[in-house]
Amino acid sequence: MAETMATREAYGKALAEFGAKYENLVVLDADLAEATKTGTFKKAFPDRFFDCGIAENNMICVAVGLALSGKIPFASSFAMFAAGRSYEQVRNAVGYPHVNVKIGATHAGITVGEDGATHQCCEDIALMRTIPGMTIINPADGVEARLAVEAAILTQGPCYLRFGRMAVPTLFGSDYRFEIGRGVKLADGTDVTLVATGIEVEQALLAKELLAAENISAAVVNIHTIKPIDADLLTAEAQRTGAIVTCEEHTVIGGLGGAVAECLAERCPVPVLRVGVMDTFGRSGPAKELVSYFGLDAAAIAAKAKAAVALKK
């Protein structure tokens, strides 16, 4: 059994680790420090942690004021509130002036689980993608989450980091290399390319095994940075395998699936089928069950991959 860790857990640990290295790092939360795991940073650096209370819009703009004064603020809440409620603050106060604010959004997607639809944000990537100059990173495991946090610290400008509540297997080793905007080819294959992000990377790797049993050879690509997206890698894969399946724990509208379809429609039109939340709201249930319920598991990806292969000319 592989080691597991929720990406939010890795986020909190990374903040505490890098707090020692980067003295301008400050962390804000909106009464969810226990859940977002920024409490780990709070414990280590209480003077650089500010709980803003249940007032996310103010928190985002306070982060802007801090950033304009030389701090590197991470503003944290659930994705629903950081990207949803505070969309306009992020758009106008962070995005438009291109301020160096990092948004650490946890509890993204349906794996929030039992809390249900009001807290299961499946629209955040779509919202953030519309903001010019916004970098969007959706790590697949704890190793990637840690590397993403440091990359965000070292990159000037607005950044939206998306983390999950559910513990997921650690996929990557200590030699894993992470670069913002650069996709990672995890497995080779010739018939179809599975393009996955976040927790769906694990499911895509499992789907590859299911497909292999049916003599379908699937490549797997991890797109941790949804904006700016690695258009060159996507184009190369489209040219090579001629069929793409996108896999994300997010609505199929405007997220990874949307970004990949837009990119390939312009650069190399091939069948692109999308695995994701099918234009619907979430519901309560254990997180793992919901992955299957919403058609995000390896079996669902394998089925879409077969359909994509069948669409090839």
Binding site: A55, V64, L68
Partner: protein
């Protein structure tokens, strides 16, 4: 304040008002009413109160200013021009496609603008973040923000007020431009946000009230704000919307409209330019 300085500031404020009218007349749009109501406050801030240097607009130790009621950009640009941050002749480019002077303040392209603003409620929150950063740094720099009375209907204003009071940000000073009018009419005919004094006191603020057009009262209030320890200060500035231009004064229809050529001439005469 001695008479000579009062006369100087009055003349600068007059030129700021002339610039405001030039801007909206040239743009054929913009917000003259609320810009004219804060012209004296802006003049006092930029010529007396703030530690700033137009030659070093990015000095990390400068005082900060946020125009939270960003639609009054004509007032901000005009005072920045008078203070030497930008050429006075550039004001005529206001809202034109080939100009850097955007309809609402754009910090990326306008020297002296510390924060892009215009979406109401956000600027005051940003000012609280700036004040918090100064506290973290142990720096004496102060942060000022001008907000509108209509703006105080935004919920985020009170999130920010709660935050600043909680953190005892005594290096933060908001000026609330109480001209009594918002786009849809008088405050009492929309949703009356008053009384402001009791609300701010409840959030732990030091509350002062002034005549927004009296430099001596402004001097006393800003000195009291600097002296107040442990609490942020809000200066409730009782103002006349459209102040200085006869037909615009206390007339809600001049919230966001430009004068025609005939009205422009009257305005210039009112402001002593003719």
């Amino acid at each position: 304040m001695d008479q000579a300085r009062r006369t100087e500031l009055t003349e600068i404020a007059r030129r700021v008002r002339v610039g405001i009218i030039e801007e909206v007349f040239s743009a054929k749009s913009g917000h003259p009413g609320g810009s004219l109501s804060i012209a004296d406050i802006l003049t006092y801030l930029y010529f007396e109160e703030m530690h700033i240097d137009p030659k070093k607009p990015d000095d990390p130790e400068r005082d900060r200013f946020v125009l939270s009621k960003g639609h009054c950009a004509p007032g901000l640009y005009s005072v920045l021009a008078q203070r030497g941050y930008l050429p006075v002749e550039d004001l005529k480019g206001f809202r034109h496609t080939d100009s850097y002077l955007q309809g609402h303040p754009d910090m990326k392209h306008t020297p002296g603008v510390d924060m892009s603003s215009g979406s109401l409620g956000q600027g005051v929150s940003v000012s609280a973040g700036m004040a918090l950063a100064a506290k973290m740094d142990g720096s004496p720099r102060r942060v000022y923000a001008i907000m509108g009375d209509g703006e105080s209907e935004e919920g985020q204003v009170w999130e920010a007020a709660m935050f600043a009071g909680h953190h005892h940000l005594d290096n933060l000073c908001w000026i609330l431009d109480l001209n009594g009018l918002q786009i849809d009419g008088a405050l009492e005919d929309v949703v009356d946000p008053r009384p402001h004094d009791a609300k701010f006191r409840a959030f732990g603020w030091n509350v002062l009230e002034v005549n927004a057009h009296d430099f001596d009262e402004l001097e006393t209030a800003f000195a009291a704000a600097r002296a107040a320890k442990g609490k942020p200060t809000v200066i409730i500035a009782h103002s006349v919307k459209g102040k200085g231009v006869s037909f615009m004064e206390n007339n809600v229809s001049w919230h966001g409209k430009a004068p025609n050529a005939e009205q422009y001439e009257i305005a210039m005469k009112d402001l002593g330019e003719r």
